[in-house]
C-alpha cells in the first residue's frame, strides 16, 4: 500500500470529511444501493482515504457508480459523510486534463425520445469537468 499524503490531504480538504471519525460499523456499505456495482465500497473509500491509499480509488470505476443519494450520509452514526469522500475522489480524478468520464460525443448514443434533460445535466455534472 502506498501512502500518498498529498492526495490524502487534498481529498480531506475538498470533502470536508474527517475519516478518522469512522468507527468501522459498515452501515454506509449496508445502506448503499450501488454496492454491487462497486469494486470499492463506501466504507472502503473512507478507510483508504484514512490510510492515504488513494491511487486505487482514483483508477476505480466505483467512482462513477455512486448515486449521490446521500443515504450513507444520513445513516452514518458517526457523521462521517462517505458520499462526500467519493465525490472528492471523483473530482480529483476528472479534474485532470482529458480525464472526463463522459463527453458530449457520448450523448447521441444515450439519448432517446423520453430522456429527461435532468438525466443528461446530472450525469454531465458528475462525470465531466
Amino acid at each position: 500500500m502506498h501512502n500518498n499524503k498529498y492526495l490524502q490531504e487534498e481529498i480531506i480538504r475538498i470533502s470536508g470529511v474527517n475519516p478518522s471519525k469512522c468507527m468501522r460499523c459498515g452501515k454506509c456499505s449496508a445502506t448503499c444501493p450501488a454496492y454491487d456495482e462497486m469494486e470499492y465500497h463506501p466504507h472502503q473509500f473512507v478507510n483508504m482515504v484514512e490510510c492515504g491509499d488513494i491511487e486505487p480509488l482514483l483508477n476505480s470505476k466505483s467512482l462513477y457508480k455512486c448515486l449521490s443519494c446521500f443515504a450513507c450520509i444520513d445513516r452514518c452514526p458517526r457523521g462521517v459523510e462517505p458520499a462526500k469522500v467519493v465525490e472528492a475522489v471523483r473530482l480529483t480524478a476528472i479534474r485532470k486534463q482529458g480525464a472526463n468520464h463522459m463527453t458530449a460525443d457520448d450523448i447521441p448514443a444515450i439519448i432517446e425520445e423520453d430522456t429527461p434533460q435532468q438525466l443528461l445535466v446530472s450525469a454531465f455534472r458528475k462525470y465531466t469537468k
Binding site: 448515486l67 444520513d74 429527461p116 446530472s122 455534472r125
Partner: protein, 263 residues
Amino acid sequence: MKVSYFPGCTLKNKAKDLDMYAYKSAEALGVTLEEIENWQCCGGVFTTANDEVATKLSSVRALKYAGEKEQPLVTVCSACHNVIKQTNYAMQTNSQFADKVNRYMAADGTYNGETQVYHYLEMLRDLVGFDTLKEKVVNTLKGKKIAAYYGCLLLRPNSVMRMDDPENPTIMEDFIRALGADAVVYAKRNECCGGYISVESPESAKRNSNAIIENAKAAGAEMIITACPLCKYNLVKNGADIPVVYFTELLAEALGVKEDTNA
C-alpha cells in the same frame, strides 16, 4: 400570496405536466407562482465539494432574485429543490464559500442565504395548509390507493433539507390523504431509483427501480406519485406496471383544474 418560482430545465421540456399543473393548482389555491426571470439550470445535482463555486452560482442567482422581491423561493422538481436548498445552506453556514461566491457576483451585491426555500409540497403543508387544501378538493380521490415515492433528493441530507423525518416521512402521505385518497406506506419510498446512473449502468437503475415498484405494489399501491422527472423516467423506463404520475397532476385532478389545462 405571491411566491418566486424556479421551474428548472426539465419542467420546460420533458416534464411540462409537472410545471403546468403546479401553476394551475397553485392558482386554485390562491397562490401566484412568479417565475424567476432568466433563471438558469441548477445543474441537476449538488456538488458537495467545498471548492466548487461556479456550479452553484445559478442557484445563488435564483435565491438572490427571490430575496430581492422578499418572497420565498418555491421549487417543484426534487433535484432543483435539493441543489438550491443545499446551496442556500452552504451560503448560510460556510462563510469562506459565501465570500467566494459573493466575489464572483460582486456587481450584483452580496447574498448570505436569507431567502426561505420551500418545496411545493412544503408550500402546501406550511403556507397553504393541508386542511385548507382538503377544503378546496372538488374531485375527491376516495378509494384510490396511492403510494408516494420520495426518492433520495427530497429528504436527504436531512441536516440541510429539514423537510420531514428522512426515514419515515409523512408529507406526501398527508398530501395524498388531503386529496381524499388512501396513502400506501412502504419502506422503499425513500430509496434511490438510480438517478443519473442509468447512463452509466442501466442495469443498476433497473434493479433499484424494480425493487421500489415491487415494494410499493406489495403494500397495495395502484399508483405511484413523484416530484422528480428523473424518478418518473427511471420507474417508467424500468417496467412500472402501475401508473407513475407527478404529484401536481394528481393535485390538479383533485382541485378540478386538470381539464382546464388540457383544453
